[in-house]
Symmetry: C2
Subunit: 376 residues, 2 copies
Amino acid sequence: MKIIIDKETLVTALELITPITDKSSSKPILSNFLLTAVPGEGGAAGRVTLSATDYEISIEGSFPAQVSEPGTVCISAKKTYDVCREFISGEIGIKTDAQMWVTLEGGASRLRLPSVDIGLYPQMERSALPNRFRINGKALRRGFELTLMATQANETRKNLSGVCSRVANGEMKLIATDGHRLAQVLRPVEVLAGTEHPEIIIPRKSLLEMEKVLDRAAGDVEISHDARALVLTTDSVVVMTRLVEGKFPNVESVIPRDSDKTVLVNRERMITALRMVSTMSVDKIKPVKITLNEGLLRLETERAEYGDVGDEFPVDYTGGEFQTGFNAKYLLDVLTVADHGERIELNFKAALSPCLVKVPEDSNFLAVVMPLRLEW
Amino acid sequence: MKIIIDKETLVTALELITPITDKSSSKPILSNFLLTAVPGEGGAAGRVTLSATDYEISIEGSFPAQVSEPGTVCISAKKTYDVCREFISGEIGIKTDAQMWVTLEGGASRLRLPSVDIGLYPQMERSALPNRFRINGKALRRGFELTLMATQANETRKNLSGVCSRVANGEMKLIATDGHRLAQVLRPVEVLAGTEHPEIIIPRKSLLEMEKVLDRAAGDVEISHDARALVLTTDSVVVMTRLVEGKFPNVESVIPRDSDKTVLVNRERMITALRMVSTMSVDKIKPVKITLNEGLLRLETERAEYGDVGDEFPVDYTGGEFQTGFNAKYLLDVLTVADHGERIELNFKAALSPCLVKVPEDSNFLAVVMPLRLEW
C-alpha cells in the first residue's frame, strides 16, 4: 500500500472510529482498525476506507486519497490517532514495507507500526436489511439527544437500556424511559423499503457513537434494519449496530392526556431553582415540593437537620393553589436537554399524577416525569 | 447577625475557602467555615471575614458588607457555596435566628442552614513571625507555578514534596526537585524584618491554594514566616500554612555550569515532537533519544515491537553531532510551563550529563533535567 491523505481527513476519520476500538488487553485484536486503499478509476481520485468494530457496533468511513498502490492493513487505532494528530504537515503519506510494517509520514515526523494479519480482524456482516427509510441527519441526531437522557443508565432492565424506534405512517417515533421519566420525539421519514417496520431498541452506546457521526453528516441519511441489526448510512460513513433484544414496554398509557393545570416557566430560571434544590439534598433522590399559585411557582426541600432551600419565581399560571412532588434531578435532566425554547410548559393533573413537559416551539417533543409522594 | 453582602463578593470568597474545607466525614467540623460580621466605625462600611482551616492551611478573607448586627456563625462551606452561587440577585442577606439557624436570602431564593457552635471550630494561631518580606504578587505566583512542576508528586521523600524558598540579599530563590528534574526561580524582595531568613519548604497543596489567592491579588503581597509556619498577606486575604519539616537537599552542584552545547529550539515545535514520543512509549518512563547536528534536532523512540516514532526539525545549533537520552515527559513538563518565550535554550555537555533549560527572555528561571542512559 502507498497513499497520500489529507491530515485533517485522516484525523477526523480516526476520531470517529477510535472510540469503539478496545483499549483493554482482553481482545488485543480489537485495538486495531482496518485501512483499505482503492485506486480511482477513469481519472477519479482514489479512496481509503477506515473501519473498526467491537462486535456490537462497527463504523466504516470512506474518504478521498491519492492511492499509488492499493492494499489493506490492520494497525493500532490509538497509536495512529495519538501520533498523527500531532503531525504538523498538511498531508500524511502511508506505505507498507515487505515485512508489513506501516510507515506514516507527515513532513519530517514519522510513525512506524507493525501491522496485524488482516485475516484475524473480525469481518463485518453487510447483508441487505429489509426495512429502509431516509431521514434528515440533524433532526435524527437531535431526536437521539432528546430521548437518550431518559434511558436507563445501569442495565438492570435490558429493554430500557436504549431508545425505542417505531416507524409508521411516514413518521419515526423515538421513545425512551427508565420507569421514572419518559421522553418521546417524532420525526418525519421517507420510507424506502419495507411495509411494516418492526419496533426496535437501539443501544445507548451505539446512539452516542451515531450522534458523533451525525454531527459530521450533511443533509439526509439512510437507516436500514431488521429486528436484530441497524445500519446508518451518511454521505461518507456507515455505522452498523446490533439492536437490544427484548420488547419495549407499552408506554402510551403513561403519557398524560387529561392534564388540566398548565404552567409556562422560564427555562433558565427553573433550572437555577432545581439546581439549588438538587445541591441541598444529600440523598440520591432529590425530592422537591412544587407549589403553584396564580402567577407564582414555589420550590422547596424538606426542612432537614442539615438545612433546606426554597425558591419562587413568577410563571404563567392562572389556576388555584396546587401542590405536588418530584425528583428534582429528573425535571432538571429534561429542562437541561430541552433547550430549544426559552419557555417550558409543565402540565399537571393531581398531586400524585405525572408531569407532562412540553416545549411550546416544538410539538414533536414531549417528556413525562413521574411524581414522588412527599410526606411533608 | 444581620448583614447584606454583594453576591459576587461572597461567591468569590467561598471559592477561595471551600477547597480547603474537608468533604470527608472523618472530621465533620472541618466542612464548615466561620463568618464574622463587624460593623463599620465612624461612617466606614462594615466588613465580614470568612475563614476556614484544615489544620495544615488556613485561609481568611475580609470583605465589605452592610452589617446591621455583628456576630459570628459557623456553617457548611459547600452547601453555602453551591446554593449561593445559583442565587440570581445582586445582593445576599444573611441573618441568624434565636435557634442559631442561619438564613441566606437572594431575592426570592432562600437557604437555611443550622450553625455549629463556633467554640468547636479550630482556632487559627496568629502569632507574629520574625521574618518578613514584601514581593510582587503576580511574580510570586508565577514563581510558584514554574517550580511546582518539579516537586515530587508522591510524598516518599517529605523534603521534596514542596518548594524550597531561600531569601538572601534582597532575593528570593524558589527551588524544587524530585531527583529527576529541578526548577529554580529568582525574585526580588524587599526585606521588612529578620536578618537571616531560614530556608523553608512550602508544601505543594498550600502552594496550589496560594496560587488561587495570588490570582486575585493586585500589587505587592507580604510574607512572614519562621521555621514552622508561613503567612501570606494580600490586600484582602491572609493564608497561613504549616511548612514541611526537613532539610532541602543542596542542589547547587546539580545545576550544570560547564555546558558547551547550546541549542535554541522553537518551543511549540519541540512540544509537538515530545508529545508524539510520549504517546508512543508504553512505559511510565518515556525514553527519547535526541540527536543534534548542525541546524537540526532529531528525536526518536526505540524500535519496539509495537512501533516507533521519529521527528526532526531545524534548530539554532552550530556544533558537531551529539547524542543524548532523556525521559520525554520531564522535558515536556518544563517546556509546557515555561511558556514565557517562543524559544527555549537547551544546554548539553555530554551524553550522560543533565540538560540545562533556559528561557532567553527570562534570566531568573532555569530548569535541569537528568539524562537517561539509553541502550539503543
